[in-house]
């Protein structure tokens, strides 16, 4: 009898491929769809991910219309509990500060917390401001007005950037705060990473923040940012992963952890993870999703790196597997 059951299980497993649906954040869309493609080739299971934005992803999983939701900002532990959800991080990204100052070309500039904050508050108005000059003693900065550029659309990129500013700059926290879109004190808004980039490229004296991946693919000049240990850090695979390594991931808090301004000598400070949300009260659907993400954690790192996403460190992956087991949604 047992054998028959087992045989049927195996047989039906082979025939009935899983169909997993997800919706949410646009930032991880390229890697999720790459994973989905490779996952489908290897296992025959289908993943249908729609990048409708984090806000939409959260709403869809709360209404249980998808198997998993995706969000760039983590929900607080209370929100996760209230909506009977589970939450864990998948990949890491970062924001970089790019600029267009014709006089210095692609020279790498140093920026600290106060410099970025004052520029975006509209207090530092020129490139040769004494404060900026003192941070970059070897560069001759020109007498040119700074054109501040930010995102006009709501986005996880803005969330990470403003969250970092709120942590390192009390004035920003008090007057602006953080979110997927905020009330900007100065500057013009460009739509999407490409909008910000083109605006910075076009205006002499422009400065803007874009996703690390985007800046890397487009070979843009990128500033070194001072982290909380006082080092100027260039954003790259190593320094961004460093930020995730030292973070205090906590299973009992549903991995609520923002990677901005993390400790670590070489940790790049404007870093953030992107998250997956599952329905705790529908373990069958959640298990379908964890099947996919287990595969992604085990075999997907190389695809992530190809696309310049930073995979989670091994210790964090282990924590996530344990977290699934605890809540009965392990595949």
């Amino acid at each position: 009898m047992k054998k028959v059951l087992l045989a049927t299980a195996v047989f039906s497993g082979a025939v009935l491929a899983l169909e997993i649906t997800g919706a949410g954040a646009t930032f991880p869309y390229p890697i999720y769809s790459k994973w989905a493609y490779e996952f489908n080739r290897e296992t025959g299971n289908k993943v249908n991910y729609q990048s409708i934005g984090s806000g939409g992803g959260i709403r869809q999983i709360i209404n249980r219309t998808v198997d998993f939701g995706a969000s760039d900002g983590p929900l607080t532990p209370e929100e996760v509990e209230k909506n009977k959800l589970l939450q864990f991080p998948t990949v890491i990204g970062a924001d970089v500060i790019t600029y267009n100052v014709p006089e210095i070309g692609k020279t790498v500039l140093n920026m600290d917390q106060k410099a970025v904050c004052d520029i975006y508050m509209g207090k530092i108005k020129k490139w040769n401001d004494p404060y900026l000059q003192q941070l970059n003693p070897n560069v001759k900065l020109p007498d040119r007005p700074i054109v501040v550029v930010h995102r006009s659309d709501g986005s996880g990129t803005t969330w990470i950037f403003t969250n970092w500013l709120s942590k390192v700059c009390p004035e920003w926290k008090e007057k602006v705060g953080y979110g997927t879109s905020v009330k900007w004190p100065v500057g013009v808004g460009g739509k999407g990473n490409e909008g910000v980039t083109n605006y910075v490229k076009r205006s002499q004296g422009g400065i803007g923040y874009v996703e690390y991946i985007y800046a890397k693919q487009n070979n843009m000049p990128v500033a070194r940012i001072k982290n909380r240990e006082g080092n100027f850090v260039e954003p790259n695979m190593k320094t961004i992963q460093e930020a995730a390594k030292h973070a205090k991931w906590d299973k009992s808090k549903h991995f609520y952890e923002v990677l901005t301004d993390q400790p670590g000598k070489d940790a790049y400070p404007i870093t953030g993870a992107t998250f997956i949300l599952l329905a705790k009260d529908q373990p069958e659907r959640a298990k379908k999703a964890t099947t996919f993400f287990k595969w992604a954690y085990e075999k997907g790192d190389k695809y992530a790196e190809e696309l310049n996403y930073i995979p989670m460190p091994e210790n964090v992956k282990k924590l996530i597997f344990e977290y699934w087991k605890e809540h009965g949604v392990a595949p």
Binding site: T26, I52, G53, S54, G55, G56, I58, G73, P145, V147, S152, D153, G154, S155, G156, V176, G177, Y178, G179, T180, S181, V182, K183, W184, G187, V188, G189, G190, K191, G195, N198, Y199, R202, S203
Partner: protein
């Protein structure tokens, strides 16, 4: 006898079938007309009202309408900046487009040689077929640099010191502002306006024009005193249609407006419109009140469009009365 009865029967059948068909068409067309024309707008309005209820409760109507702050973090919302941006960019683009479009229509119907008419007509209609995103990209990559480095500094130099008007040209010329947006919007609506106005001009009975010529009127006098008065309501109709398009235009404006929820202090200031705010913020609106406020703004766009089109329709009726022949 039998044949007559048979013939009567078939005739009856045919008649009932015809009656049935007629009735069926009447009802189904009537239904669709009612649905598209009346029910659908009402339903859309009701849904917007329902989704916006949270924000309506929290911010009220007059306050929301006259308040300029838009702060998603503090969850404090007011729509005046967006309504202002929508109305101002629409009116400005109409001001630029109307004379050009009417000029094009006059040229096509009255002035151009016959072989040239169809070429210009087609060219203008082709303009209307270009998707708005293309206008946006063209405006952003090609027009804004020219505006920022050439046109706007020149305007500032020439007009910056003129009292009153000079105020409109203050601030750093960035190219993404009210002026560039209105300019691109006007290019987008010119073809619509021109085609409608041209069709209206073509409707003028030749006998009226000919009798004017017969009385010794010049071409210009015929255009001014016969063609334009006769077609005033047609011209107004064309303007209304184009106003509708300018009001709702999103993609192109997103690229060119600078997307700042503020009341622009000059033509060279960045701003935002209702549709742009919706397109930009809808996907990532993560709190209920934020989403509801966006629906509320959508509801206001609905009301603004209705009011503007209503006013325009009223003007057409008055014109028709005045020029009734």
């Amino acid at each position: 006898m039998e044949e007559v009865a048979y013939a009567e029967k078939t005739l009856k059948e045919i008649r009932t079938r015809g009656l049935f068909l007629e009735r069926f068409l009447k009802f189904s067309f009537g239904f669709w007309a009612l649905f598209a024309g009346l029910l659908f707008p009402i339903l859309a309005g009701l849904i917007l009202l329902y989704e916006a209820r949270l924000a309506i409760e929290k911010f009220g109507f007059i306050h929301f309408l006259t308040y300029t702050n838009w702060d998603p973090v503090a969850e404090d919302f007011g729509a005046l900046t967006m309504i202002f941006g929508t109305v101002v960019s629409t009116i400005l683009s109409m001001l630029i487009a109307a004379p050009v479009a009417i000029g094009i229509a006059i040229f096509i119907t009255e002035l151009a040689p016959n072989w040239f008419k169809s070429i210009v007509s087609t060219a203008v209609e082709l303009l209307a077929a270009i998707p708005s995103i293309i206008y946006g990209l063209w405006g952003f990559f090609i027009l804004t640099p020219i505006m920022a480095t050439k046109v706007e500094p020149w305007l500032q130099e020439k007009l910056g010191d003129v009292p009153l008007i000079g105020k409109l040209f203050q601030g750093a010329p960035t190219g993404v502002d009210v002026l560039t947006t209105s300019l691109v919007l006007s290019i987008m609506i010119i073809p619509f306006m021109a085609s409608v106005v041209r069709d209206a001009f073509n409707m003028v009975p030749p006998i009226m024009k000919e009798s004017a010529y017969g009385l010794g009127a010049t071409k210009w006098e015929v255009i001014r005193q016969v063609v334009i008065p006769y077609t005033a309501s047609g011209i107004a109709g064309g303007l209304i249609l184009s106003a509708g398009r300018a009001l709702g235009e999103t993609m192109a404006v997103t690229f060119l407006a600078g997307n700042n929820p503020q009341i622009p202090k000059s033509l060279l200031d960045s701003f935002t419109t209702i549709t742009v705010a919706l397109a930009n913020q809808f996907t990532e609106a993560d709190t209920d009140i934020y989403l509801s406020a966006l629906y509320y703004v959508g509801l206001l766009l609905y009301l603004v469009s209705f009011t503007m089109l209503g006013i325009a329709k009223f003007m057409v009726l008055r014109l028709e009365k005045r020029w009734k022949v």
